[in-house]
């Protein structure tokens, strides 16, 4: 055997490129996080290190990572759209719009002004302004972790992100379309208008409808659901590109369109986050880092541009944040926090810069200067957030909407379809999450538990509910449900149990952190219109919850939902009553008639002196199945 005869080959090819890529994904973020710099900077620097301007581990002209990076960019923008909290935008609409306009307008004006004063062409100056005007909620997890998610100023900044990113991407689409389109200006403008109409129709009407149906019809496997989400944003990107609109705009709009179907805390969002965090988004960031060139970055020209961009961006964001003191009555620390949340430049900024570069509007100096802006903005914002988050008074926790996190505790399989349908309807209104717990006796065997769990999982999938049911074996079903509700921080508990007795219900209602509704009935058909029924005139608190529940499953335009009172006897086949009850005995007495269902909400908060119910107080309501 002649060792000298062995020929070793220099590493090359896709396996080598992916190995290098994943080494950066593994090592880049933790290394920079040790010095308190966000992980994305580690990926950008890692991209530079492995690229031709760094150690040259990737061959010149390699297409693997840049091509994958393009998919990563679409994914990044889809995630940016899908994880935005539209609920916050709805709840803080006016202040979010006010702040959105301010925090977009100042950097946009300053950035455009800088470009024009430097003698740039108008499209390049406008694109610079718009990319500096967007922001990424990089530090929101930090602020949320400090218990400030419900602070009105914080919530407004989060809501404003929808506005800033949308406007920035629309401007990007128009500029990219006019710069790279062919034909007269009028032709290009018409193409863009038609494109936005088509994109709006696809993303905000067709995609949600198709995705909802696909989730039910095809989405029986987790991988299929994930693939549907991917296909959705790719479809939107293709539709956009067909009309000369950048694919990232379509991907972002697809994210917004599917926002309510993909709850932030749900399993599908976790999978989207997982794959994005592990693969797609790092690849994009690394592919951008490859463009980083120290010989360009540390030139006078690049550093000069970076200084101007930083001043325009952070200056504009600072002025907008300070104006919250006038517009929203924010305190100094709250204004500081608004600045810290709206200053970081990442997703939309990188996306717009990448597009600007690829259509030849920006050169390498601008790209490298923008990378400096991203680094500086993230560092400055992190320092400000660290300082201000301890100085902002924690808001009193807001009462959760019923549909934010619905727990369905199933002890009775026959009633499970009704409980799950109710949960799905309530959660859909708030883009909430449905958790399902199967309660079994301790004497069941492992095989029986698995079989029951499989059956329940199949039912959830049939109903299109994206959840991973779990099984709990216990002799104390009520306590187990309470424990689950506590650990999941549920906003509503639907206990599907035909045999719930007084002690059971009392334990559940008294100890549960959320309103409890006991679901009985074997109806298995789509939920429909709403009636009302008065079961117990003494009920107050539970009656209110019952009215909320009915309203939550009623159509958006039904203002009277939960307000009309019907009698219990008026339940027709296919209908379900929702009512508050004060007397525990009623739980065992009130069983639904054939083909009807009943949802009872025990009232554990009855005052000693029960007030006369007013005409507008809903004491008992009835949800119909149609």
């Amino acid at each position: 055997m002649n060792v000298a005869a062995i020929t070793l080959h220099a590493p090359e090819g896709s396996a080598w490129e992916f190995l290098v890529l994943f080494l950066v994904v593994i090592l880049g973020p933790p290394l920079v996080q040790k010095i308190k710099i966000p992980g994305l900077i580690g990926l950008l620097l890692g991209g530079f290190l492995i690229g031709p301007n760094g150690l040259g581990l990737l061959p010149e002209g390699s297409e693997t990572i840049p091509e994958l990076g393009k998919l990563g960019l679409l994914y990044l923008m889809f995630v940016a759209g899908v994880e935005l909290d539209l609920g916050l935008l709805r709840r803080h609409r006016n202040s979010a719009i006010s702040f959105g306009v301010l925090t977009f307008a100042f950097p946009m004006a300053f950035g455009t002004g800088v470009g024009l004063m430097l003698g740039w062409e108008t499209p390049a100056a406008l694109l610079l302004g718009s990319l500096l005007a967007s922001h990424t909620l990089l530090l929101y997890p930090l602020v949320r972790g400090a218990g400030l998610a419900n602070d009105p100023v914080v919530a407004s900044v989060v809501g404003a992100t929808v506005l800033t990113d949308t406007i920035a991407l629309v401007i990007l689409a128009v500029i990219a379309g006019t710069e790279s389109g062919t034909g007269s200006t009028a032709d290009v403008a018409l193409e863009l208008v038609l494109g936005f109409i088509a994109l709006g129709f696809v993303c905000f009407y067709a995609l949600p409808v198709l995705a909802r149906r696909a989730f039910r019809a095809l989405g029986t496997e987790r991988t299929v659901r994930f693939a549907i989400a991917i296909a959705a944003f790719l479809l939107a990107a293709v539709v956009g590109e067909t009309f000369g609109i950048e694919g990232i705009v379509g991907a972002f709009f697809a994210g917004l369109g599917l926002n309510r179907l993909v709850p932030n805390e749900g399993p599908l969002m976790h999978r989207i986050d997982f794959f994005g965090g592990a693969m797609f988004i790092p690849v994009f960031l690394i592919s951008v880092g490859i463009l980083l060139d120290p010989s360009v970055m540390f030139q006078f020209e690049t550093l000069g541009l970076a200084a101007l961009f930083v001043l325009a961006c952070l200056g504009g964001k600072f002025i907008a944040a300070q104006l919250t003191r006038l517009v929203m009555g924010a305190t100094g620390p709250q204004a500081g926090l608004a600045f810290a949340l709206s200053a970081p430049q990442a997703a939309a900024t990188l996306a717009a810069t990448d597009v600007g570069f690829s259509i030849g509007l920006f050169g390498e100096s601008v790209v490298n200067a923008v990378l400096v802006v991203i680094l500086v903005s993230v560092l400055v914002a992190t320092l400000v957030a660290d300082r201000e988050k301890g100085r902002v008074k924690r808001p009193t926790p807001e009462k959760k909407a019923l549909g934010e996190r619905v727990l369905v505790a199933v002890s009775d399989f026959e009633g499970a379809p009704l409980g799950l349908r109710l949960a799905r309807a309530v959660a859909a209104r708030e883009a909430g999450v449905v958790d399902v717990v199967l309660l079994l006796d301790t004497d069941t065997t492992g095989h029986e538990r698995q079989a029951a769990l499989d059956r329940l999982s199949g039912l959830c999938r049939r109903l299109g509910i994206d959840t991973d049911p779990s099984v709990r074996a216990s002799v104390h079903g009520a306590q187990t449900t309470v424990l689950a509700a506590n650990s999941l921080e549920s906003s509503l508990v639907l206990a599907v149990d035909s045999g719930a007795d007084e002690a059971w219900a009392e334990t559940l209602a008294v100890s549960s952190p959320a309103p409890v509704a006991i679901v009985r009935g074997t109806v298995d058909r789509p939920l429909g219109e709403v009636h009302a029924v008065a079961l117990d005139p003494r009920v107050t608190a539970a009656g209110t919850v019952a009215a909320e529940l009915v309203a939550a499953v009623s159509p958006d335009d039904d203002d009277e939902a939960g307000q009309h009172l019907e009698s219990h006897g008026s339940l027709q086949p296919g209908e379900v009553g929702v009512a508050g009850v004060s007397n525990w005995q009623k739980l065992s007495e009130l069983n639904p008639a054939e083909e009807t269902g009943i949802v009872l909400i025990p009232d554990d908060l009855l005052p000693t002196e029960v007030p006369e119910p007013s005409a507008t107080e809903a004491h008992g309501t009835l949800a119909a199945m149609g």
């Binding site: 010149e60 002209g61 297409e63 004006a109 300053f110 002004g113 800088v114 470009g115 004063m117 430097l118 003698g119 740039w120 062409e121 390049a124 100056a125 610079l128 710069e179 790279s180 389109g181 062919t182 360009v296 006078f300 020209e301 000069g304 541009l305 200084a307 101007l308 001043l311 325009a312 200056g315 504009g316 600072f318 002025i319 300070q322 104006l323 600007g356 570069f357 690829s358 259509i359 030849g360 509007l361 920006f362 050169g363 390498e364 100096s365 601008v366």
Partner: protein
């Protein structure tokens, strides 16, 4: 509000200062500034003409071609009035001798060695090496190719690709002039020649005695070469990216090569590494 007046003021002063000081014209464009070697002219260097599909006509009277079309479009985007075409052997371009031209468009692939004497713009073609043969000759796998006589351009990347990837039984014939290299295949001095696929496509379009037998799987970038240390790289790269984004390159490819760059890649079979 003080900050409302101060920040715009600082920005205006700083922008004016930057646009008027040391950086000079460098700040005046978001996508790089181009300074031609001769006022109002884009001086472009290429191989001796014609190069089928890429440079048609003569040096003094160029009539078209993909790279000539790109040069004209580039001059327009850079605000220059005319294109001055110069020619020199490929090996001189590869060694960094651009003879005062602003750039070379000569189907040149960036390599580490060339990078020491030239600067390269953004690649405008990614092409696989293709095997050009006489019509009716088949070269489906490496084993068959090894038994054939190769012809390649001297100092081109194909020289090393043939020697290292194909490893033919007899050493390849080296040509300084690509038209003689093509002639060697036609008259039977060589069995097969290696060119970038788009170039091979153009040669085949021009001469029906020739055909493309197969292509290698690894694609090579083709880029504009600029003098080492040129300050025009950013401007040229930006203009080339814009030409790619708005479809100019594909349009020129269809006009002069008879196919889009992507289609030509898809139509040719891969050279198999085993039978």
């Amino acid at each position: 509000m003080l900050t409302g007046r101060v920040i715009p003021g600082i920005l205006a002063l700083a922008a004016l200062a930057f646009s008027g000081c040391g950086g000079g014209d460098a700040f005046n464009s978001a996508n790089g500034t181009f300074e031609p070697s001769r006022p109002g002219k884009l001086t472009v260097l290429t191989q001796p003409m014609p190069t089928a599909g890429f440079w048609e006509g003569t040096r003094r009277h160029p009539t078209g071609g993909l790279e000539y079309g790109m040069a004209v479009d580039l001059a327009d985007r850079l605000g220059l009035d005319e294109v001055d075409v110069r020619t020199t052997p490929f090996s001189r371009i590869a060694r960094g001798h651009l003879g005062g031209a602003d750039l070379a468009l000569a189907l040149i692939t960036p390599t580490a060695e060339r990078d020491e004497v030239l600067d390269f713009g953004t690649p405008y073609i990614n092409a696989s090496p293709a095997l050009l043969v006489r019509e009716g000759t088949e070269v489906a796998d490496v084993k068959t190719a090894q038994g054939m006589q190769f012809a390649v351009g001297r100092n081109t990347t194909f020289e090393s690709i043939v020697n290292e990837t194909i490893q033919p039984d007899s050493p390849p014939l080296l040509f300084e002039n690509r038209n003689r290299e093509i002639g060697a295949v036609i008259n039977g001095t060589a069995d097969v020649a290696m060119f970038d696929l788009p170039a091979a496509q153009a040669i085949v379009n021009d001469d029906d005695r020739l055909a493309i037998a197969s292509k290698l799987s690894s694609a090579e970038p083709i880029a504009a070469a600029l003098p080492e240390g040129s300050s025009n790289v950013d401007a040229v790269s930006s203009a080339l990216r814009a030409m790619e984004a708005d479809g100019t390159i594909d349009r020129l490819s269809e006009q002069w090569l008879g196919t889009s760059l992507t289609d030509s890649e898809n139509d040719v079979p891969l050279l198999r590494t085993s039978e």
